[in-house]
Each structure stands twice: as structure tokens, then as C-alpha cells.
């Protein structure tokens, strides 16, 4: 085809210990909407970062051609100059600036470094009309909804004379009406000559707007589908996305499941800032002794918020519902209440919420357990060192010693420290939020072994993961969470990626009115 806009040839990108992209070749035609689909961690975002220059030329192998000319971007500015604009899932808007100021941020309408406000606002008005957003350019971005903010992002891209627009999960935080508006806009922009690459988990959308689809899995291109040539339907895409052999990636475990330990009934709560937004609506679930229960769901489904709300109401407002621990109702108003009840939560964001990076392994490991390692408020430092030493060995943290600062550890070892600090407390219920995010395959396997060992010791484990194979390989039972509700429950035999996806799709069809904001964890 002569009309190739972008061609990426044999792109290989390696990180220490892992090959994120393996010989990926992808062609995007002029004036088309090209969908890029794949599981979390498949390499979609990495590929787009290579394309937009976040990973500069030289840090990857392979070639990029734009309109037949080779490009070697050193940074984002260079790719933007050629009209490649990426809109990330976390919007890069400044809430305290106006829409117009945000649109021209870094691209100010100025003469001799003095901003021309008249031009700024009149150009902004034109751009807003193009994207179909009926707002005053002087309105602060913080005062408009997420859907409208997304449109502002696109207006911002248009202001940079975008030729190739990359959208990373643009509709994850939008409701159906907003999503449709956005998708219609993409089709409209296509007719105006703008090519788009759409990364999305919502396969219905992909089916609706995409002209071609590239499926990647484990850093490799698995499938290429073109509208008209191939039959495009959800089942086929799902198969390509997930169809892989699960051999030996997860250690075996003999499940020995006892009585119910934690039982949550009709648990609901509201967003901490937007007090009328229901985040979780009447969730019911339980976990038994020695059981590993998984929470599956898409980004922004509310899984992290749900478990954090249980952990001493660390998230949300106006909680309602009941929590039963071994049959007795308990109330946890703070993290220390949760700890006293034997509930531990391993955060998904180990650097932001899990570790104190300037402190050493010992102090990080023992922080929640200091009460057990002290008498009348005075820490027994010898016991502390022995305890830290014991758990360092138990979970094999690779380090020069427990006095090493945690910021010098690899991601996998940092994750083990976060895990270790909670295991040290000997909790009955251990909630793991994305326990293997961003760590390499070997470390993942070790974490799985630790999880299995804990389950074998009779602990109850709740595990959130965006990697479905991980849930399927590890869990005895899986709850599917979607849009703040428990959409379904699957036991080990029933659970498959197809059945989970089906539950999510069906649930999304049913509940159209509840909308969600950005998946954020705000303390």
C-alpha cells in the first residue's frame, strides 16, 4: 500500500531482565483509526513510548518511518514537531489553569515572549468548536468533568498541528455517552485527515471505530486484522489477546480451604472528594481460611478503592455495610484498627504508599510491627534486627544487608520488602494489590511461591491483579469487579479469560448510568 503513514519495523526494547518488545512491526495507514489491543503488560504503552520519543533513539532496536522517512527521536519535542501527539491515560492538564491556558501550555500564543491573550482565547474557542466542547475557554479545567477534560486534551493536541494522535485508554474513565462522543470525534478527525492510534481494553469500541487492529501479547505482534478483509469480532480479538499456554508460570498448590474468615456484606462508600459519587455499590464477598481469592476487573473498576476502604477506611467517605471477621462484626476506623484485627494490605504503589525510600530495609520491614518488638513504647533494637533478619531470609530479599536503603533495591526486591513488612505481622487476611506489577518474571515466580506458602499456612489472601493469567494461575475463586460493583463470581473450574471478559462486557451493557472518575488512590 502506498498510503502508509507510519511504519515501525522490528522494534525491540529491553529492560533489565525482561524483553518488553520483541521484533514488533506495525503499519499504520493514512487517515485511519488503528487500534492497539493487548493485556496489561503486553507492551502497548512501551511501543507508544518508543514511537513518541519517551525512549530515545538508541535505547531500542529497530526503525521508525513516518511518511517514508526514517525518524530518530531524541525526545518528545522532536516527535511532536512531526505531529505525533500522545494523550496519556492520566491526563496531563493543570486543574488550576483555564481551558485556554491548558490548550496552549508549552505552545503559548505569544509575540516576543509576551502572551497574546486575545489570540489565545479566540484560537481556543475555534479548537473547542472543532472537538465539540461547549465551554468558555476561561473556565478552569478543574471545574469540568473528566470527559470534557479528555476533549481539552484533544484540543491541545490539535493546537500542536497533530498528524498522528495516540490515545492511551481514553475512555477508561468515561461513561458511555462521553465515550461515544469521543469516538465520534475520532471518526470526524479521521475525515479531516488525522490518523489515530487507539489503545483500549474496551473491545466493543475497538470493533466500532477501528479500521485496523494490531494485537500484541508478551511484546510480540500476534495478529493483524483489517476491516473489510478480516472478520472482526470480540471473540476473535479476545482469543488473540489471551490465548497462551499456561505452563509452569505458576507454582502448584494444594488448596486446603477452611471456614470463612472475612465476610463483607453490602459494602458501599462514596468518593472522598466528590461526595455524591458512589465508588462501590453494595459489594458482597468473602474469603476463607487458606484460600486465595482474586479480584479481576478493568482499570478504574474500583478494586483498589474497595480493598483500601476495608483497610481501616483508608479510602472513601460515608461507608456503609458490614464486615464480619470469623463471624463477629468488626468496625475498623483506622489502619491500626485493621492491623489489630489481623488484616494487612500490600499496596499497588510500592514507592508512593508502600516504602519509606530513605530508610533501610530493617526500618521498613518492622514499621507496622514495632508494637510487637517493644515494651512500653521502647523498641528492643536487638529483637528488631533479629526479626528483620529472619524475614529477610524467609522471603529471600537480595541485598547487602538489612541496613541497605530500600531505594537501592531492584523492583522485585522492593516488592518483597513491602510484602515482608506485612507478613511479619502474621495477619489472618492479607490483601495484595497488584503484587507483581513492574517486576520481572523470575521475581514474580518467587512472589507466587510466597503467596502459596502463606495460603498453606492458613492465611486468607485477597489478590488484585490486572494480569488475568496471574489470577487464573493463582486463585481458588475470582470475583469480577466492574464499575464499582461485583459483577460476578467464578470458581477455579469456571474461570477463564473469556468468561471474565464476558462478565465484564455483560455488566457494562446493563449498567450505563454509573460513571467513574480517574482511578486514583487518595488518602
Amino acid at each position: 500500500m502506498a498510503d502508509i503513514h507510519l511504519e515501525m519495523r522490528r522494534i525491540t526494547k529491553r529492560f533489565p531482565g525482561i524483553t518488553a518488545l520483541d521484533q514488533v512491526t506495525m503499519q499504520v495507514n493514512n487517515k485511519e483509526i488503528h487500534a492497539l489491543v493487548g493485556e496489561n503488560g503486553a507492551g502497548k504503552s512501551t511501543l507508544m513510548k518508543v514511537l513518541s520519543g519517551v525512549y530515545p533513539y538508541g535505547s531500542y532496536e529497530g526503525e521508525i518511518f513516518l511518511n517514508g522517512e526514517e525518524c530518530r527521536f531524541k525526545d518528545i519535542r522532536e516527535s511532536e514537531r512531526l505531529g505525533i501527539v500522545i494523550i496519556h491515560q492520566e491526563l496531563a492538564l493543570i486543574p488550576y489553569l483555564s481551558i485556554a491556558e491548558n490548550i496552549f501550555l508549552g505552545n503559548e500564543q505569544a509575540r516576543n515572549s509576551i502572551i497574546d491573550w486575545f489570540k489565545t482565547s479566540s484560537r481556543a474557542r475555534e479548537l473547542l468548536a472543532t472537538v465539540g466542547l461547549d465551554e468558555n475557554p476561561a473556565t478552569l479545567v478543574g471545574n469540568i468533568g473528566v470527559g470534557k477534560q479528555q476533549l481539552v486534551e484533544i484540543a491541545k493536541a490539535l493546537a500542536k498541528n497533530v498528524k498522528l494522535l495516540i490515545l492511551d485508554e481514553p475512555t477508561a474513565a468515561l461513561n458511555d455517552r462521553e465515550s461515544n462522543q469521543l469516538l465520534d470525534l475520532l471518526i470526524q478527525l479521521k475525515s479531516e485527515g488525522i490518523t489515530s492510534i487507539l489503545i483500549s481494553h474496551k473491545l466493543k469500541e475497538v470493533e466500532k471505530v477501528a479500521d485496523t487492529i494490531t494485537v500484541i501479547r508478551d511484546g510480540k505482534v500476534i495478529d493483524n486484522l483489517t476491516k473489510g478483509r478480516d472478520e472482526i469480532d470480540e471473540d476473535r480479538i479476545i482469543k488473540s489477546m489471551v490465548g497462551r499456554e499456561l505452563t509452569n508460570r505458576f507454582p502448584d498448590r494444594e488448596a486446603d480451604i477452611g471456614e470463612t474468615v472475612l465476610d463483607v456484606r453490602d459494602w458501599s462508600f462514596y468518593h472522598p472528594q466528590h461526595e455524591n459519587r458512589l465508588v462501590i455499590n453494595r459489594a458482597n464477598f468473602h474469603v476463607k481460611k487458606g484460600e486465595v481469592v482474586g479480584f479481576a476487573g478493568l482499570m478504574g473498576a474500583g478494586r483498589t478503592e474497595l480493598v483500601m476502604s476495608l483497610f481501616g477506611k483508608s479510602y472513601g467517605k460515608r461507608h456503609s455495610g458490614r464486615i464480619l471477621l470469623k463471624g463477629n462484626e468488626i468496625v475498623m476506623n483506622s489502619v491500626s484498627d485493621a492491623i489489630e484485627n489481623g488484616i494487612a494490605y500490600v499496596t499497588e504503589d510500592r514507592k508512593g504508599y508502600g516504602l519509606i525510600l530513605i530508610e533501610d530495609i530493617r526500618r521498613n520491614l518492622t514499621l507496622p510491627s514495632l508494637g510487637n518488638l517493644s515494651s512500653s513504647g521502647v523498641v528492643n533494637s536487638s529483637e528488631e534486627v533479629l526479626s528483620a533478619e529472619k524475614y529477610r531470609k524467609k522471603i529471600t530479599i537480595k541485598c547487602s544487608g538489612i541496613d541497605q536503603n530500600v531505594d537501592n533495591l531492584s523492583g522485585g526486591n522492593q516488592q518483597k520488602v513491602v510484602l515482608g513488612k506485612w507478613i511479619m505481622l502474621e495477619p489472618d487476611v492479607l490483601i495484595l494489590d497488584e503484587p507483581t506489577r513492574g517486576i520481572d518474571v523470575g521475581a514474580k515466580f518467587e512472589i507466587y511461591q510466597i503467596i502459596n506458602q502463606l495460603a498453606a499456612e492458613g492465611k486468607s489472601i485477597i489478590m488484585i491483579s490486572s494480569e488475568m493469567p496471574e489470577l487464573l494461575g493463582m486463585c481458588d475463586r475470582i470475583y469480577v469487579v466492574d464499575r464499582g460493583e461485583i459483577a460476578g463470581e467464578l470458581d477455579r473450574q469456571q474461570a477463564s479469560q473469556e468468561s471474565i471478559m464476558k462478565i465484564i462486557m455483560n455488566h457494562q451493557k446493563q449498567s450505563k448510568e454509573i460513571s467513574h472518575g480517574q482511578p486514583q488512590t487518595v488518602l
Binding site: 508502600g354 525510600l357 530513605i358 514499621l367 523498641v379 513488612k421 488518602l523
Partner: protein, 390 residues
């Protein structure tokens, strides 16, 4: 040898400042022709800097949380004024007056603490407001005038000495000499017990030779100080207070759960909270404690001047903050020690004192102190980036 290297590396920030202090003292000893370390001047140094050092101890806790307290200078004046009203105007006995003054300090600190910890108002703003409020109240109470004099026993807190009861050996105050010997013995005992415990639990200990040198240097410093004081009037009472505070607060920060929670809060507040640290309570207590120590310093200042004045304590907050930063505390929180803050305060104190003896004008003193602060923090950032590189 490796463990020795490791030891130095992990302690370079503290040793670096102690070394700097020694170099500065050595320098002024030479340029002042030996006046700096004369017994009378050493005593003077202690008396002059005691209140800044007391404030630095409290300020360190605030800085560990990643914040500062700007109100301490005003609280010093306020507590001094209230004490003067109680003792001078109402003729209240000294002891109850002191206790009430301390209580007022706690209330003032708790006042700040409520806004900072529970209402989440940034500490900079709350304590800036406190600085204006309590400076204003001081002037209201004193009606813009100086109140004096205090009773002798109150003055003694700041300007008195532990007398040798007349006993002296060849001009040396006996109690001061004995204190030096007892402290030396306690120190050796402490080190020995610590080493035995470390060996018992199978931890690494410092090589014996190195440990011996370290102990000898510290013993020499202790005894040199007590002997100098013994040659003059003996041990100043305020120094006993200061020494006690340093011991107590070192213990709190290094050995207690509360102390560890302060460091954790300063290192990563969100992670600390999710680990069960009651972050609001810790914050509240840190600022309440600052109020208490401001009250102690306030009485020391009033006692030393033998008067309560509206201008007392001006700029003390900045001296205390500077002492902490020179002593290796990190502005972003989570790093710093009480001993470091004291060393930092002494660096500033010796600079002040040395330059005054040399006859350097006050204007230049300010500028030089500013440069020392900047240099110390640069050194700190540099060693931090180096220790992170490997």
C-alpha cells in the same frame, strides 16, 4: 577494614559536622590568641547558646516531619512575659510559676498542633500566624515595656552554677571534676554493655582498636570541657538542663516507637499512614512538644537577661532551624539527629563567639553565618548524592 569504611560512609554526615566544629574551634583558638578556649569563655559559650540549643532539639522533631516552626521566637518572648507577670507583678513563688509557664508552652504548642495535624493547615502558615499572634500578645502583656527584676533563684536557671560547696582542688571546682569522671565512667560502661549485647545477638561490632580511639577522643572532650568549667565557676545549671534534654530526646528519637514514627512520617507520610502510624497524632505531639521546649527556652532567656522584654527571642526560630540543617537534617524530612542539631548549633555558636572576640562587626557575622549554612547544606546534599550513587 571494610566495616570501618562502611561505618565512616554511613556516618559521614555526622562526623563531617563534628570535624567541621573542631576545625572551626581550632581556627578561632589561633586567631583569637587562645581566648576562645579559656575557661571563662567556654562557660560563656555554653550560657550564650543554651536557649538556641534547647530550641534546636524541639525544632529537629518538626524538621523530621518535613516542616518547620516559625513561632518559637515569639513563644519564647510570650512565655518570658507571662513568667514576669506571675513572678514580678503577682509575686508568685518560683516553682509554681515555672510549672504554669511550662503548661502555657504546652497549650501554645497544642494550639498550633490542632491546626496543623487535625485541620491540615500547612505548618508554615500556622506557625507564621503563631509568630505574629504571640509577638503581639507579648507586647500587650508587657505594654511595650521591660519587666524586671526576677528572683535570684529564677535567674540561677540561666546564669547559676552548681557550686562546689566551697570544695575545690587547686582552683578546680570539685563537683565539675567529679561530674567529668562519672560521665566518663558511665560512657565507658555504656559502650561496653552495648558491645556485649551486639556480640550476644551476633551483630558486627566496630574493630576494638578503632573503638578504643573513638572512646578516648570522646573521653578527652568530656573531661576537657568539665575541667575548663571547673577552672571557672563550675557547671552552669542550664547546661545540666540541656544535657538532660539531649539525652531524653536522643532516647525518644532513637529508641521509642514514637521516635520511629516521626522518622517514618517524615520519610513518606502516606506509607507511614498505611503502615498504621497515627500520623495526625504524631504531628500534633511534635508541635505540642515544640511549645513545651519554647517555654523552657523562654524562661532561660528571661532568667539570663533578668528581664522580660518585648523583643526577646527575635530570630531565634531561624537560628534553631539553621542549627538543624547545619547538623545534617534534611529539609524534606525523615533525616536528622538530636546530636546533629546540637553540633550544628555549636558551630553557629562558636562562629558567633569567635567573631565577636575578633571584633568582626555584627553585620559581617550575619553574612558569614548565612554562608556557613549554605555551605553546610551543600556539603550535605553532595554527600547524600554520593552515598546514593553506590
Amino acid at each position: 577494614m571494610d566495616s570501618l569504611k562502611q561505618y565512616f560512609k554511613s556516618n559521614i554526615r555526622q562526623y563531617g559536622m563534628v570535624l567541621a566544629l573542631v576545625v572551626i574551634m581550632f581556627f578561632f583558638q589561633i586567631v583569637t590568641g587562645g581566648i576562645l578556649l579559656k575557661p571563662a569563655n567556654v562557660t560563656n559559650l555554653v550560657l550564650q547558646n543554651s536557649y538556641v540549643l534547647i530550641l534546636a532539639v524541639g525544632m529537629l522533631l518538626c524538621i523530621l516531619t518535613g516542616n518547620i516552626d516559625l513561632s518559637v521566637g515569639s513563644v519564647v518572648a510570650f512565655v518570658g512575659a507571662v513568667s514576669a507577670v506571675m513572678m514580678v507583678d503577682w509575686n508568685m513563688p518560683v516553682l509554681p510559676a515555672i510549672l504554669i509557664a511550662l503548661l502555657i508552652g504546652i497549650v501554645v504548642g497544642a494550639f498550633h498542633g490542632v491546626f496543623i495535624a487535625y485541620l491540615r493547615i500547612p505548618p508554615f502558615i500556622v506557625t507564621l500566624a503563631g509568630m505574629l499572634i504571640f509577638r503581639g500578645l507579648t507586647m500587650v502583656i508587657l505594654k511595650g515595656q521591660t519587666k524586671a527584676p526576677f528572683e535570684k533563684s529564677f535567674q540561677a536557671i540561666a546564669a547559676g552554677y552548681i557550686s562546689g560547696g566551697g570544695f575545690s582542688i587547686g582552683g578546680f571546682n570539685l563537683i565539675a571534676v567529679l561530674t567529668g569522671i562519672i560521665l566518663s565512667a558511665l560512657f565507658i560502661l555504656g559502650i561496653a554493655v552495648n558491645r556485649r549485647n551486639q556480640k550476644k545477638y551476633g551483630f558486627e561490632v566496630l574493630p576494638t582498636g578503632f573503638e578504643t580511639v573513638r572512646v578516648l577522643v570522646i573521653l578527652a572532650a568530656i573531661n576537657w570541657l568539665t575541667l575548663s568549667l571547673a577552672l571557672y565557676n563550675g557547671i552552669p545549671i542550664v547546661m545540666v538542663v540541656l544535657f538532660g534534654l539531649v539525652l531524653i530526646y536522643t532516647f525518644i528519637t532513637q529508641k521509642t516507637i514514637f521516635g520511629r514514627h516521626i522518622y517514618a512520617l517524615g520519610g513518606n507520610e502516606k506509607a507511614a499512614k498505611l503502615s498504621g502510624v497515627k500520623t495526625k497524632r504524631v504531628m500534633f505531639l511534635v508541635y505540642t512538644n515544640m511549645g513545651l521546649l519554647s517555654a523552657v527556652a523562654g524562661m532561660v532567656v528571661a532568667g539570663r537577661l533578668n528581664a522580660a522584654t518585648p523583643k526577646a527571642g527575635t530570630m531565634f526560630e531561624l537560628d534553631a532551624i539553621a542549627a538543624c540543617f547545619i547538623g545534617g537534617a534534611s529539609a524534606s524530612g525523615g533525616i536528622g539527629t538530636v546530636v546533629g542539631a546540637i553540633v550544628g548549633g555549636l558551630v553557629m555558636g562558636v562562629l558567633n563567639n569567635g567573631m565577636s572576640i575578633m571584633g568582626v562587626s555584627v553585620d559581617w557575622q550575619q553574612a558569614i553565618k548565612g554562608m556557613v549554612l549554605l555551605g553546610a547544606v551543600c556539603f550535605d546534599v553532595y554527600t547524600k548524592s554520593k552515598s546514593q550513587a553506590d
